[in-house]
């Protein structure tokens, strides 16, 4: 599996650390109720198919939002988490 790091180019999967579904990026407000924090930390939509995930490229340290299929392992693309957030 090759992941195209926006900073480093396509690199082998072993350089990356997976952190799970991109819903992890949707952090609740600091004063959100406990239920919202439970959802962030524990609940997962866990889709079978194309989805957005959070990975870290350990070489450059960048956090990426990776567009990937969990059934075929095909990688469609990746962008910096900061860019993903700016794009909404």
């Amino acid at each position: 599996m090759l992941i195209p790091c926006p900073l480093c180019g396509p690199r082998d999967r072993r350089e990356f650390h997976p952190r799970g579904g991109a819903e992890y990026l949707d952090r609740p407000d600091a004063d959100a109720p406990a239920q919202a924090w439970d959802a962030l930390l524990h609940l997962r939509t866990n889709p079978a198919g194309r989805t957005q995930e959070v990975w870290q490229h350990e070489c450059c340290g960048a956090w990426l939002e990776v567009d990937r299929c969990t059934v075929t392992h095909r990688v469609f693309g990746a962008r910096l988490v900061s860019e993903a957030r700016d794009a909404g």
């Binding site: 396509p10 082998d12 999967r13 095909r74």
Partner: protein, 486 residues
């Protein structure tokens, strides 16, 4: 026995090795199996459960019976080695396995007598009482009887290598289809890796009496290889088996670097390659199917493709009287080749009523094999023809049950092979099937249900199709961005 004037072995270079403590002489270019065939050794192993005597069935890595232990000085052992893959070298020592006290006299063969009580899964229905007897008695007995070869228990301190390679195109198999695919891609300027599990390129062209472009098969192969070797963009990897298809165009490959030579301290035994190639052509050919009939596992019953392979590649025949059983023309091709080499063919048993008459052998049309005799080695074949039954004398029975294309790699990501009633075989899933391996295409010859070589060699159109397929694949491949710039 050896047949004069046949085979690609080097008769000027005899090689001595030991099988079960006995000296055997082969020639450079032999495998253990071919040397044993030439030596007249038919009994090489015992079956897993009933310990039935077994002989060499195939001429390739698909061999199920001839599994041997390779012994090294110092006591190291490599179990379950295919005699059909292990090349001979001076000082090689191999030993049969899963028998006691000897291959000829195996006490565990008593299982065969009690087969009625040892049917599939019998152990799920018994050995439950008393409870503590399972770990104490039943299971140790079962474990001792099970298994094939043995590990020495010594640390494996031999050197191994690990390496990486990158290419635009990986061609899997160096038979005629793979050679042509590599040639087409190489001429087009692509970086090509041509991986071949055998020690010698050519595939079935080494095992058949076939001409290509007016040249004997092996000579044609040598010509193509010369051109490939001269191309800086083509890397030929012999003794290299592609073991798996993985994500991102990665392929596992295991190269037998030193297994065909005497061990040396600085000689790696094997090298595990991780090959990255966005495109691959599977040209792994096809494996012949055996035929089901009672006692079809006796030593001396061989695939017809193996009988021809031993004859043409190694100049060896496993017996003096050969019978052939099959419902298609490969049976007759086998008989013709044997007769031409001066070997007696006692009968071709062909279930088809309109089976062709033999030239130099007798065809039993509309007949079938219903049994065999000869516990440690075949002596006769029971044939039913119409309402009559009779024995045909034979110490080898060549069986031709049709061909199974080697589709395995196309299924490594979950796609299922597709049954094709016309080809009478499972064909590779299409490139768009769910779970298909991205970038992998099966070459025409690999999925043709008929004998690979005949199709390719006899029909120039088919050859062109293979080349066209290679080129079309390459066009797609070249359109992809180069991931690695070396």
């Amino acid at each position: 026995m050896r047949v004069d004037g046949r085979g690609l072995i080097d008769r000027g270079r005899p090689v001595r090795f030991r099988f079960d403590g006995r000296d055997v002489t082969g020639y450079a270019g032999d495998t253990v199996a071919s040397a044993l065939v030439a030596d007249g050794e038919r009994l090489v192993g015992r079956s897993f459960k009933y310990h039935r005597p077994r002989g060499i069935l195939t001429v390739g890595p698909e061999e199920p019976n001839a599994l041997l232990e390779v012994l090294e000085p110092g006591g190291q052992v490599t179990p379950n080695t295919r005699a059909t893959v292990q090349e001979v070298f001076d000082g090689l020592e191999v030993r049969s396995q899963n028998r006691w006290p000897s291959l000829r006299h195996d006490l565990m063969a008593v299982n065969d007598r009690f087969a009625a009580f040892l049917g599939a899964g019998f152990y799920y229905k018994t050995f439950m009482w008393p409870r503590r007897f399972w770990e104490g008695l039943y299971e140790p007995l079962i474990r001792r009887a099970a298994g094939l070869g043995r590990l020495s228990g010594k640390h494996d301190e031999a050197p191994y290598e690990r390496a990486f390679a990158h290419a635009d195109l990986l061609v899997i198999g160096a038979g005629p289809a793979g050679l042509m695919a590599a040639l087409a891609a190489g001429r087009a300027g692509a970086d090509v890796i041509l991986a071949e599990a055998d020690s010698r390129p050519g595939g079935r062209l080494l095992a058949e009496d076939e001409a290509v472009d007016g040249l004997p098969g092996p000579d044609w192969v040598a010509g193509v290889m010369a051109e490939l070797r001269a191309m800086p963009n083509v890397r030929v990897m012999l003794r290299t088996t592609i073991t798996g298809a993985y994500d991102g165009g990665q392929w596992g490959a295991l190269e037998r670097v030193g297994l065909h030579r005497a061990p040396a301290p600085d000689l790696p035994r094997e090298c595990f390659w991780r090959i990255t190639a966005p495109r691959a052509i599977l040209a792994a050919g096809a494996l012949e199917r055996p035929v089901a009939f009672p006692d079809n596992d006796r030593p001396g019953v061989m695939l017809a493709s193996a009988v021809r392979g031993y004859l043409h590649r190694f100049g060896a025949v496993a017996g003096r009287k050969v019978a052939v059983f099959g419902a298609h023309d490969d049976a007759h091709r086998t008989a013709r080749d044997l007769v031409a080499a001066g070997v007696t063919v006692t009968a071709v048993i062909d279930p088809r009523e309109d089976a062709p008459e033999g030239d130099g052998y007798r065809t039993r049309a509309g007949a079938v094999v219903i049994g065999t005799r000869g516990r440690l080695g075949l002596t006769g074949v029971r044939v039913r023809e119409g309402s009559s039954e009779f024995w045909v004398e034979a110490d080898v029975l060549a069986v031709a049950g049709g061909w199974n294309p080697s589709v395995h790699l196309t299924c490594h990501m979950g796609a299922r092979p597709v049954w094709d009633a016309d080809a009478v075989a499972f064909l590779p899933p299409g490139p768009d099937a769910p779970g298909a391996v991205p970038g992998l295409e099966a070459a025409a010859s690999a999925w043709d249900g008929r004998a690979v070589v005949r199709v390719l060699a006899a029909d120039p159109l088919e050859m062109k199709r293979t080349v066209a397929a290679a080129l079309s694949v390459m066009r797609h491949g070249m359109a992809l961005p180069r991931v690695w710039q070396i």
